[in-house]
């Protein structure tokens, strides 16, 4: 007869409990809960200039417009085209403002660079069981493809802080030197990767 204590030990392995790492979710919650959000805020502001550019080129694409509104968590917004708008000087210390490009087929793509590190271990924890985050490569380097819906991604800021960022759907993230590059505007991962590789 098997000892009852041993049977309880075995039961531990059989319980319907999650196996995936927990830290991704916990770190994201810490980021949301704590008042200290300077790093995330800096990124958001740096990205703001880029997003304005994205909005300007993507007004004709309702899905993209919706994604931009969602990304800021502000629901429905009305956006004016302001090609004269210069990003304020305070928005630039953390990454550049992004390059919006119109492809020959009329598609608008946006490339943004953020001073951060796409830590593979950390990113994997965020990926967890989420179906909409796909690991891929750009020119042999680690990359993440956010498929369809917006998703939280964990990154390391230059000061070592963990930053959880909400990234719009259909976005490719990869590391290039000391920056994380974000590419938006493609619906298909292979197209995004091909375009990303053409940049390098």
């Amino acid at each position: 007869m098997i000892d009852l204590a041993d049977r309880l030990r075995e039961l531990g392995d059989e319980l319907a409990l999650e196996d995936r790492p927990l830290s991704g979710t916990v770190l994201v919650r810490l980021e949301d809960d704590l008042p200290e959000r300077s790093v995330a805020a800096r990124w958001t502001w740096a990205a703001a200039a880029a997003v304005i550019a994205l909005v300007a080129v993507s007004l004709a694409i309702p899905g993209a417009r919706r994604a931009v509104a969602d990304w800021f968590g502000i629901g429905s917004v009305s956006v004016e085209r302001r090609p004269d708008l210069e990003p304020p000087a305070t928005t630039t210390p953390f990454g550049d403002a992004g390059d919006a490009t119109d492809l020959p087929d009329g598609r608008a793509v946006l490339v943004t660079r953020i001073d951060a590190r796409l830590d593979v271990g950390l990113a994997r924890k965020t990926v967890g069981t989420a179906t909409q985050v796909v690991e891929t490569t750009v020119a042999g380097g680690y990359a993440l493809w956010i498929d369809g819906e917006p998703h939280l991604v964990t990154l390391l800021a230059p000061d070592g802080a963990v930053v959880a960022e909400r990234v719009a759907g259909n976005t490719l993230l990869w590391q290039e030197g000391s920056t994380v590059v974000r590419l938006e505007g493609f619906d298909d991962r292979a197209d995004a990767v091909a375009y990303a590789e053409s940049l390098g």
Binding site: L4, A5, R7, L8, R9, E10, L11, G12, E14, L15, A16, L17, E18, P21, L22, S23, G24, T25, V26, L27, R29, L30, D33, D119, L122, K125, L156, G160, A161, V162
Partner: protein, 187 residues
Amino acid sequence: MDARSEVTAQDDAQLVARARSGDRAAFGELVDRHARAARRVAAVISNSTQEADDIVQDAMVKAYRSVGTYRGTGSPRSWLLRIVANEAKNHVRSRVRRRRRDDRQASLELRVDDAPDDRVLERFEHERLAVALAGLGAADRAVLGCRFVAGLSERDTAEVLGVAPGTVKSRTSRALERLRTRLEETT
């Protein structure tokens, strides 16, 4: 404490020290190291595999906020699991308050498993054991959950539950006895 767990405890202490100075990645590492035991402790104390993950998440967020209060008297692991155990107990209280003590949430479920034929009996035994365990009183479940389901030592179990090691020993044998009785009743 064996050599391996001593090394782990030292590493854990370093992670706690780094977490105290605001290194969240270090805290994340600590969380992942003990997630398995934490989920089991939470499940058995709350009597719910379904709610275990939420409980552990809440507990870990609280642990990070109170990492400055960790005094290093017990191991970081038992400090963390104690917060998990308390969160699970609070969770049960609030569930009772909310009158949502329904069977869907409060049960110890097993993994969905395409058990091969030779494992069907084993599976059935695990199910019986889970039901019997879930039917025990809270104190019995807490001690058996920590000691065996989560695989903690007597000393760690004592720290997690905030009782003397001798109490763990006596409670464990009484709880095992009651579990055995329940199992025999359902045979």
